[in-house]
């Protein structure tokens, strides 16, 4: 273990917050407080939390529609996140985005994007801005392995590689593009090989240990910040829930799921902390505090006013220009 126990406790707490938040989100969805699509991150928490710990506050982050985890990892208030799911004015996107379109500019979180492969070029764009201005910021862009076949992936990689932009592309390979396993979408089993075609550095590892994620992502972030160009990181992971709430995930066996759950990032980190001498009472304290925080978020969401018609009308275009 490379991290000291206090930092590891902090990362554990953040992962637990994401886990409990999403369990509540699923409940809210079942009770029709939240609608639309809901894609849960449960099982993948070590990636968002580890990568976030490797970034500076002024760095930029992009994510797919499976975006609750990274938003909370970056520091979004759970209340603003839950209120967005509830379609409330106090939501992080004022009820205009929903689950798939979280935004939190204050924490460098630039969404929350719904079209597979569509946000990779945007991440190259914020990285382009950082190089243009020389502001030293790095952009981290997450996407699934299902995005590695679409044109948006290749064009963003072409430009980022060509211009050596300060961006880190993180592929969260959770084995299934919705219901289709990697073996039926790619002739490669090692996706990092794709980086070579774009003159890009690559790394690949299993993402169940938050310390490992932090350390490996930090290496890529440093490379980007030092002007040495982008990195493509493939992180092996697994989502414990279906693709979205409407997916019973019948394309994989119960045995496979149970096997993967042995690598639950929360269990992995807890075991490390216990091996280092952490007391059970400490975990109980964290559990209790996180549950209180999530309960408060739900209460805040319930009590908040609904999204405003005026917001809808006022945000089509920025008015009063030219």
């Amino acid at each position: 273990m490379t991290l000291d126990s206090e930092e590891l406790f902090n990362l554990y707490r953040r992962m637990l917050l994401i886990r409990r938040f999403e369990e509540e989100a699923a409940r809210a969805y079942a009770q029709s407080h939240a609608g639309g699509f809901l894609h849960l991150y449960i099982g993948q928490e070590a990636i968002a939390v580890g990568a976030s710990a490797a970034m500076a506050e002024s760095d930029y982050v992009f994510q797919t529609y499976r975006d609750h985890g990274i938003a909370l990892a970056r520091g979004m208030a759970p209340g603003a996140a839950m209120a967005e799911l509830f379609g409330k004015d106090t939501g992080c996107s004022r009820g205009m985005g929903g689950s798939m379109h979280f935004f939190d500019v204050e924490h460098g979180f630039y969404g929350g994007w719904g079209i597979v492969g569509g946000h990779l070029a945007l991440a190259a764009g914020t990285a382009f801005k950082s190089r243009y201005r020389g502001d030293g910021a790095v952009t981290i862009c997450f996407f699934g392995e299902g995005a590695t076949n679409i044109g948006g992936f290749h064009e963003a990689f072409s430009l980022a590689g060509l211009w050596k932009l300060p961006v880190v592309f993180i592929c969260e390979n959770n084995r299934y593009a919705m219901g289709t396993p990697l073996s039926r979408t790619s002739p490669l089993t090692d996706l990092t090989l794709k980086a070579q075609g774009y003159g890009m550095a690559a790394d690949g590892f299993v993402g169940s240990d938050v310390s490992v994620v932090k350390e490996r992502v930090a290496t890529a972030v440093k490379r980007a910040r030092d002007g040495e160009g982008p990195t493509f990181i493939e992180i092996q992971t697994y989502r414990f829930r279906g693709h979205s709430m409407s997916d019973p995930a019948k394309y994989r066996s119960r045995e496979e799921l149970e096997e993967r759950k042995k690598d639950d990032p929360l269990a992995v980190t807890r075991a490390q902390l216990e091996a280092a001498g952490a007391e059970v009472a400490r975990f109980d304290e964290i559990e209790e505090a996180v549950e209180r925080e999530v309960a408060a978020a739900v209460e805040f969401a319930h009590d908040s006013p609904p999204a405003l018609e005026q917001t809808m009308l006022d945000t089509v275009l920025v008015k009063g220009q030219s």
């Binding site: 930029y60 939501g91 992080c92 996107s93 004022r94 009820g95 205009m96 985005g97 379109h101 935004f103 500019v105 630039y110 969404g111 929350g112 994007w113 719904g114 079209i115 569509g118 946000h119 990779l120 070029a121 945007l122 991440a123 190259a124 764009g125 914020t126 990285a127 382009f128 801005k129 243009y132 201005r133 044109g151 948006g152 064009e155 963003a156 072409s158 430009l159 060509l162 917001t311 809808m312 006022d314 945000t315 089509v316 275009l317 920025v318 220009q321 030219s322």
Partner: protein, 329 residues
Amino acid sequence: MRIIRYREALREAMVEEMERDADVFLMGEEVGHYQGAYKVSEGLLERFGERRVIDTPIAEAGFAGVGVGAAMVGLRPIIEFMTWNFSFVAFDQIVSNAAKIHSMSGGAIRCPIVFRGPNGAAKQVAAQHSHTVEALYTHFPGLYVVAPSTPRDAKGLLKASIRDENPVIFLEGETLYGVKGEVADEGVDEVVPIGKGRVAREGDGCTVITWGRPYYTVMEAAERLAADGIELDVIDPRTLRPLDEELMLASVRKTNRCVVVHEHWPYGGPGAQIVDVIQREAFDYLDAPVLRVAGLDVPMPYASNLEDLVLPTVDRVVEAVRRVSYLGA
């Protein structure tokens, strides 16, 4: 006033805005070392360097997206499509990202970007290179769509578009680049506001609303009709979204007749939208149905004689005006 070409007017607008604001940059295929596929950006690389005049690989979705991302965090990109036909491979970046980010983020993020390039048919470049795209891009709330006909409007509207906080679809024309016209003297910062149309010719016989290349077809038809005693009131909306509805309606209330002339296909688009506005808001003023002269509803053929059939002609404009005036051919 000076007389310069449309392409020079565009170039001047970019130069002046890049001089004024260090966050403005130009990105696209062949914009730098090649000096622009249509020479609009000639000399810009030498003037501003590779940091701000950026040649790209052939990757429209990639560089359009880079522009949108850069705009989201404060830069002011000008993204050149070699022609608007090639914007279709970047469609998702424009409609799913640029047009949506302000709304989707609850107003937290802005996207001040200009997508520009030549629109419409050139000459015998056939089906894939002859699209008139305003019917597509005006469909989406969250985008401005601008289509200047003259050098003066090209310069003034490009300056306004670069300064605007919103994504702007800026439609030029390959056949317009060589057109000469009056433009304000050097050093005069003339900005044409987005959303304001222009009365291009005054008359009381019939309103004709038109933009882009058909604007010149209409102005020629106006001369011929004037010889027959019909004076056209020609309205150039200049911006296609939002439309300057009041200007068009005031003209129709005066002339009681209206013909809309456009190159895009007849199904939908700003042409149909204008007819909707006029029948709804000026119904009681109309002495005849509103007619349209549009590109024929076919993919553009290669053969020159067939292409001539597709594009609006002076004859078709004259015929439509005479029909709404209940005059024989």
